[in-house]
Point group: C2
Chain length 161, copies 2
């Protein structure tokens, strides 16, 4: 099972975003965990590889189960661990190996093209406190079919096509 860690680095109301060439969708930089890594080791390594920046004290903000289904059957399932950091050191790469890097304003995030479920994740991490847990279900074309999100002290949010 694939496990992905990523980090939303925020500085002065700006967020460091990465535009993946495949679909032109924006994501928080990150990538796949390697064997023997803890999630915090993974996110630190991946963020550095993709951006050049070493994040300091990343805080876990979300843990998600991502389901890809076809005609009601699970064809893939993976986990995503989303951190937030407000501090990083080092120089940003002029070009990421994974796509285009850009600082985007917090207000702009909800206008960027991205996986539909990711708007919920940015909304929580940028505007709320604490951890959020949930499951996002997509079809093979990455159309969002449903989600169920639970954050501490908030009502459960659910969506279904």
């Amino acid at each position: 099972m694939q496990r992905v860690t990523n980090c939303i680095l925020t500085k002065n109301d700006q967020v460091l975003m990465l535009k993946k060439p495949s679909r032109g969708w924006w994501v928080a930089p990150g990538g796949k965990m390697e064997l023997r890594e803890s999630i915090v080791e993974s996110v630190t390594r991946e963020f550095k590889e993709e951006t050049g920046i070493s994040i300091n004290h990343p805080q876990l903000r979300g843990i998600f189960t991502i389901v890809i289904e076809d005609q009601g059957k699970v064809i893939n399932e993976w986990m995503m661990f989303t951190f937030q950091a407000t501090n990083g050191s080092g120089t940003m790469l002029p070009q990421s190996p994974e796509g285009e890097l850009a600082w985007k304003s917090v207000e702009e995030i909800s206008q960027l093209p991205m996986a539909v479920g990711d708007y919920q994740i940015f909304e929580h991490v940028l505007h709320k406190n604490g951890l959020i847990y949930g499951t996002f279900t997509y079809n093979g074309n990455l159309d969002l079919l449903s989600y169920r999100l639970e954050a501490e002290g908030e009502p459960i949010k659910q969506f279904k096509v």
Copy 2:
């Protein structure tokens, strides 16, 4: 990849523990995540199945990578998500399907037979705040070979045989 969730339920300086029949080791009740579950759905369901008790507002306290290796090679790797709850409702099962249930005092925990790495987990959850991340490496006989633990605001703890 296997994913396990468990919960340390504490009440009046007592912890609800489960003694697994295989080795006679004590654990925090929990079990394997099912497809499509979030980690909080999983821990709530598993704790109820094993103890009869519905936990309220479980808080995530630790995320661990568990590596089983043989002669330096990874032969299995799984993830464990440890929650803490201080509140539960419902009636405790007279007998758990998974072993013997008992309330143990917080002071007693470090004296109970258990996987060696678990002492570190209970120590953090029962006596410290915030999240802890890390990797535990065992051999096939479940002898602890090494660990590396990172908790917010604390120095990294490492051990190697």
